[in-house]
Amino acid sequence: MKPIHILIFLLFAGTGLVWGQPAKGSLLIKNGTVLTVTKGTLANSDVLIVDGIIKKIGKNISAPKGVEVIDATGQYVMPGIIDAHSHIGIDAVNEATNPVTADVWVGDALDPMDVSIYRALAGGTTTSHAMHGSANVIGGQCETIKHRYGTTNPNDLRMEGAPRTIKFALGENPMRVHGEGNDIIPRTRMGVEEVIRRAFSEAQAYQAKWDAYNKEMKTNPRALSPAYNRRLETLADVLSGKVMIHCHSYRADEILMLMNVCKDFGIKKICFQHVNEGFKVAPELANFGAYASVFADWWAYKFEVYYSTAYNAAILTRNGVVTSINSDSPDLIRHLYHEAAKTQHYGGLTDDEALALITINPAKQLGVDDRIGSLEEGKEGDVAIFSHHPLSVYAVPVKTIIDGVVYFDIDKDPADIRVQIDPENLPTYQVQTEEDRCMQGVFEYLFENR
């Protein structure tokens, strides 16, 4: 390295522009009931994590020198829970200004100080899909985050290398915001289709111009480039499969519509979100190879979810659809293990099937199943430890670990951090009105712009 490079490095390091990698730890979790999810349940077994990676799973593993040992006797050790749909850890959800906003990215609005991240950890959830909201037919790009709470650096939240994803939304939300709210297409589910087909077609044309330019460049270095357009570039990446669609949807007809549009534009991978009527078109979803990420039992909060059933996850699973249970809520994200257990009440899923809904299946839907979502040697050391079997209503998460680092420990949880601040000077009582954070930021916008 030339001295000037060292100087530049020191300058950047000094101003905090060069950040360290998120911490990776080593741990030995001893003598728990290990729920691997993909490779069965192992009684009285150990999990050894070295430098953030699961090195070994088995009996009587001894701790390498200097590695901390966690005694999990009588406890249950499972993969860190993954939420394929949430809005925590971001301080903006909806860019509700256009039916198509593929150019925005929630990764630009990460908020590592959001207390919801800590609360999610206290529920055993280690990874979530921080999504754009559902105000627009084609919303912004999303970010897969690990809940490395305690950092002030937004970049530490990112799950490095996770595939890019984008939020789409069908039905009532975009119809209400843009059709009813702004008097522009879409006001109906016909319009929703039209918006997507138009956007995809424009993206195809945009890509064709760039392809022609790149080709011409080879022989003519003075070729004139087309105008850069981030929105269309992102959509072109959707068409080429570089960005995966995660689509807010409820009704069977609109789910079929989007699958047809995808077929027409050659899109192979899609994950439907909420998809309350997915059970009605389960054979079609399975045939397409589409994924479904659902609520355990939410229904009747709007008309398009009135004809729902809590048996949705079970029907989808039995029909061969890769299904997950998501939260879409800073409350539910704390007890996804309980939400998954509801599929045993509604449809009799086995323990492994129910646990897969919050581990390996959402990992598949986020394209990170080679790294997380089960306890296997070589995977990342993301682990949740419970007092009882996690599918029991009496289960209490006791420790939550990411990359071999303990981020939540019930024994070291401050009883009431309020003592450090004057309770009378707090921003007062928290008003909880927004159940559906998908629409966060929209109502303010509508009220101010009517």
């Binding site: 800590y118 229904w299 009747a300 029907i315 039995r318 009440h345 009882h388 951090i417 007062t428």
Partner: protein
């Protein structure tokens, strides 16, 4: 034509198909039932192994190890099963709302700040799709409540069976008071601290003035009674509704969440000598001793909920019921849900796991609400002579995977059916599948 030849055959097939179609029509059935060889959790009189419950004329006719089975009773073998009282949710909007975002299906929030006369029972829709969805999970009785202004109306306790509100009515009504909330209303509240304080003082002053008015009305009413002449007042249904409350004959359900507000409500209850119940009390754990000292019962919940302040411990809402109980407050658990009241057992389960314990949690959804609502003479436990609201399960009723195998409400054998279940049966193996 081929079709003509096979037409009689088709007709015959249709006729054959009819009985099986008819079986899809499930109706509650009344009768005399003997639930035998069950583990009976009476709540008030311990647990009976290998016992029998006899249901007759809508009531629990006998409970015990050796009981006489009336002639003609339908015997139901409950070996390996458990019997619990039907669960009671101490606060919901069930029957008053159908689709949350469609305002015209919402019947719990009337216009007006001072409308204690609004009757929740009037607006209960016995055919709400959410009612069968709820009772198949073991919830048989709920308090259904109005919401909104200072006095939003009168809540009613209902059994989840019946085709008219009166058939459902479970014998208890209570006027609701939303206690004035101190402090600001989140980040969009731009008022200065002085303005917030003024608004708080005004709200309390308005409440007291209104209460004084009701007191005056009660005095006029008492005087009229004494003189035997008709009361010389204008038509005033709000005052009529408050009359038994200010007289101390009827209870008042005070909805209050914040610690400081709970304390001011408790002072007010003492000063006005009100027969009060607290509802909500999400910050009750901060002032649990004060609530216990005042001897006021509390309807706690939702349990599965976020803490009220960002700085609270993450499990504040889960642990609230346990802390209140430990301090000596009589508690009942509620969901405050409309379509998902079915989650009541899980709210109780979370409370149990986070400090309340199973036994107390079970009381908090059975005998406690029955006692708080003054209906323990006919609800809340499995005792001879009580109304037959009970459930048969294959395990712990709070445990998520437990199945509810029978539900009896007012002695009716309730079909274990709901739209959610019907959709399951229709779509688990959809026909036609992929092909036409």
């Amino acid at each position: 034509m081929k079709i003509l030849k096979i037409f009689p055959l088709l007709l015959a097939l249709c006729a054959l198909a009819l009985p099986s179609r008819a079986q899809l029509m499930y109706k509650p059935e009344k009768g005399t039932f003997a639930l035998m060889h069950a583990t009976i959790h009476t709540i008030t009189q311990g647990t009976i192994e290998d016992g029998t419950v006899v249901i007759q004329d809508g009531k629990i006719q006998a409970v015990g190890k050796a009981v006489n089975i009336p002639a003609g009773a339908e015997s139901i073998d409950c070996s390996g099963k458990e019997i619990y009282p039907g669960l009671i949710d101490a606060g919901t909007h069930l029957g008053l709302g159908e689709v949350e975002s469609v305002s015209l299906t919402q019947d719990y929030n009337e216009i007006g700040d001072l409308v204690p006369e609004m009757q929740a029972l009037t607006a209960v829709n016995p055919n709400s799709v959410a009612i069968p969805v709820t009772r198949v999970n073991g919830v048989t009785t709920v308090l259904t409540m109005p919401a909104g202004g200072r006095f939003p109306g009168t809540a009613a306790l209902i059994d989840l069976n019946g085709y008219t509100p009166n058939q459902m009515f479970a014998g208890y009504k209570v006027v609701v008071l939303n206690w004035p909330r101190s402090g600001g209303f989140g980040r969009f509240d731009r008022r200065s601290p002085e303005d917030i304080k003024k608004a708080e003082e005004k709200a309390l002053k308005d409440l007291n003035e209104y209460w004084d008015l009701a007191k005056e009305f009660a005095m006029l009413d008492a005087a009229a009674h004494k003189s035997g002449k008709p009361r010389n007042t204008d038509y005033n249904p709000a005052m009529e509704a408050l009359l038994p409350v200010v007289n101390g004959q009827a209870p008042l359900l005070i909805e209050v969440e914040k610690d400081k507000d709970i304390l001011s409500a408790l002072r007010w209850i003492k000063e006005k000598k009100v027969n009060a119940i607290l509802g909500g009390v999400s910050e009750g754990w901060r002032v649990a001793d004060s609530i216990a000292a005042a001897g006021v019962p509390a309807l706690v919940g939702p349990v599965i909920d976020l803490p009220s302040r960002p700085s609270d411990r993450y499990d504040a809402a889960y642990a609230n019921a346990g802390k209140l109980n430990k301090a000596g407050v009589k508690i009942a658990i509620r969901t405050m849900q409309t379509e998902n009241v079915r989650n009541l057992p899980y709210h109780a389960g979370f409370a149990a796991a986070y400090g309340l314990g199973k036994e107390e949690a079970l009381k908090a959804v059975t005998i406690n609400p029955a006692e708080i609502f003054g209906v323990a003479d006919h609800l809340g436990s499995i005792e001879k002579g009580k109304q037959a609201n009970l459930i048969v399960t294959d395990g712990d009723p709070f445990e998520t995977k437990t199945n509810i195998e029978k539900v009896f409400i007012q002695g009716w054998d309730i079909p274990l059916d709901s739209r959610h279940i019907q959709l399951y049966h229709e779509f688990l193996d959809r026909q036609p599948g992929l092909k036409k």
